[in-house]
Symmetry: none
Subunit: 408 residues, 2 copies
């Protein structure tokens, strides 16, 4: 907790207000010549967001720090108001969340992938010839059926795509991070698991468990070809994060479709509301659970997905589809509504980027920036300016009148 966090906590008043955070994943984009210098948000027909914009303020958010491109983990932690540099979530944990695994505080998770070993145990192919997913699933099933426990820890094995899988160690007093067992180069043996911090007893315990896991797992795979070994990376424990409800005095619900975002929401203690598969269904579910929660995190994946593919038209259509569904949400208009992304995923870049994402915020106390539309270029002119994404929650809380006056 920083001094500023303390100040926010001390000023926080309970509220009956409803706050909705609508995340168009990777919505931010670049105006380039190939698309007549228009972004998908500019090119899309968005009558409902346009309407909202007339009673809203805008700005742009630096997802982490200038020039830093975030993954989904830091991107969402910042949106949830956690400092994405101070609150690091290991890649093993993110990978586990992405596979839909439910992690418990203290669980140690590792990204693993099958590899090929020669007779001396030296790595000959770090990706085992990129085996197919069904082979990976069979091998994970084999390991899982034979290994339920190592030492005092429960072991959970979950296949991913291709040669990738995840292993979770669940037991008392475990800690990460543990250095990768991946030697990074072929011709070397699998590295022993070693704590990143030699003085952490919990990490030593976890490293010992991982080495013990190898002792029982490698013999099970010894006759497999080409996947007779495996490497582990990003071995980390689920961090102990103050829950969203503790931090903001808001009871949060997550309305997401994809496991990764449900997992990230769960990491901060949000309730996952299962069922809806489309944005229309998500908004309808919001109407149903309106009375039961104070804060609604509504995640929309397709803007990012089409940005990753560099598919401008599809990204534009995805924005239009969300806009068309927006009136459902507005049937019970939240007191504070924020629409933004967790980062930009510009079509010309076919991937996440560091470009600040636009944000729109509307409440009875937002006034208006008199902008006709919600776009990147418009957002540059808004009264929110360019700010760090981790402060969005504080802006939303203020607009819900959740902060007492500071000082006399």
């Amino acid at each position: 907790m920083t001094k500023l966090d303390d100040l926010y906590a001390n000023l926080t008043l309970p509220t009956k207000a409803k706050l909705a955070l609508i995340v168009l994943d990777g919505v931010g984009d670049l105006a380039v010549k190939d698309h007549a210098y228009q972004t998908p948000l500019e090119a899309a027909a968005t009558p409902n967001m346009d309407q909202l914009s007339r009673e809203a303020i805008q700005g742009r958010m630096t997802p982490v720090a200038p020039g830093i491109t975030p993954g989904s983990g830091p991107g969402h932690l910042a949106l949830f108001g956690y400092d994405p540099i101070e609150t690091q979530v290991g890649r093993g944990v993110i990978e586990a969340l992405g596979l839909g695994l439910e992690l418990k505080p203290g669980d140690v998770a590792a990204r693993a992938n099958f590899c090929s070993l020669d007779a001396e145990g030296l790595v000959t192919d770090r990706r085992a010839g990129r085996i197919e997913t069904d082979v990976c699933e069979r091998l994970c099933g084999l390991l899982a059926s034979k290994i339920k426990q190592v030492g005092s820890a429960e072991v959970i094995i979950q296949p991913g795509k291709g040669h990738r899988f995840v292993v979770i160690f669940r037991g008392a007093g475990l800690e990460g991070p543990i250095l990768d067992t991946d030697p990074q180069r072929e011709g070397l043996p699998i590295s022993k698991a070693v704590p990143a911090n030699a003085e952490s007893a919990g990490a030593q315990k976890a490293a010992d468990l991982i080495n013990a896991f190898y002792e029982v797992a490698l013999p099970i795979l010894k006759d497999e070809k080409p996947a007779n070994g495996f490497l582990m990376r990003g071995i980390a424990h689920q961090p102990n994060i103050p829950t969203f409800q503790e931090r903001y005095q808001l009871k949060p619900a997550c309305l997401a479709v994809y496991p990764m975002y449900k997992g990230l929401a769960q990491l901060v203690g949000m309730t996952k509301v299962e069922g809806p598969q489309t944005i229309g269904e998500q908004f309808n579910r919001y109407l149903e659970i309106y009375d039961d929660y104070d804060f609604f995190f509504i995640h929309y994946k397709y803007t990012d997905m089409h940005g990753e593919d560099g598919n401008f038209e599809a990204k534009k259509k995805a924005i239009e589809e969300l806009d068309q569904a927006l009136p459902i949400l507005l049937q019970k208009r939240p007191d504070v509504i924020a629409i933004t992304g967790d980062h930009s995923t510009p079509c010309p870049m076919k991937g996440h980027s560091w470009h600040p994402q636009p944000v729109l915020l509307s409440s009875a106390f937002s006034g208006t920036d008199k902008l006709e539309r919600f776009t990147e270029t418009g957002a540059n002119l808004g009264s929110l300016g360019i700010f760090e994404a981790k402060f969005l929650m504080r802006h939303m809380q203020a607009h819900a009148r959740m902060f007492d006056k500071y000082g006399a």
Copy 2:
């Protein structure tokens, strides 16, 4: 002192420039439908500020941190360039300043209010039936006439409005904060004064004094009805702040009408220039004392006052009145002129708010942002961007060419 403070201090050069900070208290507002989406600043006729704007730059300032609504204390400390989170001024001190009391460094000040006690000394009404101000004045006079000293400390008692008053303890080695003696609920006795930090010898000494004060004061009130007791809150000492002159190498004068702002200026060592009652008189006084000071803090209360009342028309007129008087100041045009507020007090909210206030800065080195007017929406487009109010002093110093080049 932070590393950045040190840097500024090391780069500071003496100047013959004159700097004027004109504070329209609570000037920032919201564009809402009820007022045709115009703020008072937008609706007001301000030919003189418009003229100034053509040779000025603009921006908006976050008074404390995103979403935080400041009281006058933190709002002005930030304008004076002090970090409003690091430099906390207790409510007792602010209350004393607001009543026009002159505090000395180390003085411990308490907000007090009369209450009613039953025969066992239990609080039956925490506000003594909200007695009238004249009763409060009589009771304070009674206490003050009988108690001049407690232990080694001088005692100063000053009535406020209704049931409220202020007590100051002046003596060597005293410190705050002290926990409230207000039990917060009726049916309980007055709490003993206890240091907030048990390890502070100065706070223990102050707490002992307060308890000794109760010993002599309660018998004096025992036959009064309904105000036969009193409670104390926000008990704090005047913080030891580096003076404005030490910090900036500028000799400052305060031209304010209301006691609170004179008090806040005095807290940082500004000279209070007494006399003027209207903004015209304040500007005329500025002309008279032009040669004697380097920095002029000119405070205008009415924008805030009418914002608190939600009176759009009156707030608009108050802005126009200041604008009409501005040519007086410009007879001896300061080298650097900044016009802003200490926070926003939007009419639709009838109170202070967190919305960044607009700021205009003009000097021979400001260039211009080519904005025709000084308004919230215009300020969004200015080259100062949105910045923390505590940096305004540094912008003003730079525009007075008070900083040497950093590094070769």
